[in-house]
């Protein structure tokens, strides 16, 4: 375990020095500002574009629900993509560069490599999403002081939990090969698979993807978080399994 801690510390240092930490910080902070901004701007733009009286009824209202809808859309699209790009080459990059050879021959367990990287990915997701959330929350509370989003934390917790699985998928995928696209492709594949499952209504309570797509239902109180308990449990179990699988893959890998 101390070896995992050691590697985690190295990961943190290089994460910071390579400016990847800065990228996550800036992108997610920007998304946090953009979400309420887009909620506020969208009706204005539609008005300016000269919508007729009949159409103006269709124009979405600028309220807190619109703001949080934008937030979850941004998190699940740009936020997810940037996170996947930043962590999708986490292991494959080291395999390609050969940087693990020295440390492994010195006695660093390969398990420690995976655990350190998964831990950093998870913490980064939790930190970035929470940062964007706090910024969004401050703007939304100021500009849209209504009661249309009563269960903010339920939506956020679901998104945070989804990040566990996302992190494990990316690290697992990137440990498959030296190809820098392996991590991203595995992520896309997993996403597509879950999206297909989500077409079946009966699966949705169990599908980890619900934690990424149903956040507004949770936020507005259409559903309670406990409804998604199966999905949360499955997400946590899948995260553990994928992390274990990544360790097995790396242990068999030629360095």
């Amino acid at each position: 375990m101390s070896m995992s801690w050691l590697f985690f510390k190295k990961e943190c240092l290089t994460f910071w020095r390579s400016r990847r930490a800065l990228i996550m910080l800036v992108v997610f902070a920007a998304l946090g500002i953009l979400s309420p901004l887009m909620a506020k701007l969208t009706p204005e733009i539609l008005k300016l574009s000269g919508a007729t009286a009949a159409l103006s009824a269709l124009i979405p209202k600028a309220d807190s629900a619109a703001s949080w809808t934008q937030y979850y859309k941004n998190m699940s699209q740009i936020g997810l993509l940037v996170f996947a790009i930043v962590f999708g080459t986490s292991v494959s990059g080291e395999l390609k560069d050969g940087t693990l050879i020295n440390l492994v021959t010195k006695g660093l367990p390969r398990r420690a490599v995976i655990l350190g990287k998964v831990a950093l990915a998870i913490l980064t997701w939790l930190g970035s999403v929470t940062l964007a959330f706090l910024i969004s929350w401050a703007y939304t509370a100021y500009y849209f002081p209504d009661h249309k989003s009563p269960h903010l934390l339920a939506g956020l917790v679901a998104l945070l939990v989804f990040g566990l699985l996302l992190s494990a998928v990316l690290i697992f995928g990137s440990s498959l090969g030296q190809n820098s696209a392996a991590g991203l492709l595995t992520g896309v594949g997993a996403y597509a698979g879950l999206a297909i499952l989500n077409l079946f209504k009966s699966c949705q309570r169990f599908n980890p993807l619900s934690l990424l797509t149903d956040n507004m239902t949770l936020t507005t109180g259409g559903e309670t978080l406990s409804h998604y308990t199966p999905a949360i449990v499955i997400t946590i179990v899948a995260t553990a399994l994928l992390t274990w699988a990544a360790v097995r893959v790396l242990e068999e890998k030629r360095l």
Binding site: R20, I23, V26, A30
Partner: protein
Amino acid sequence: MHNSELFMEYLPFFIPLIILEVALMLTAVVHVLRHPHYRFGNKALWLAIVILFQLVGPVVYFVFGRGEKA
């Protein structure tokens, strides 16, 4: 409502956004200039990318572009 009023109303959004973008851009510009080794492309190309493409440019540079001295 005049456009300028509209703009003033949105300043609390634009100012922090601009600060973030410029901060990231400057970090990238400084890095491009001080570390003239890239995985591909050259100095001029990367400068253009990080300056012209706000947010996306620096992200692409730091993730894919930065390289080591051989």
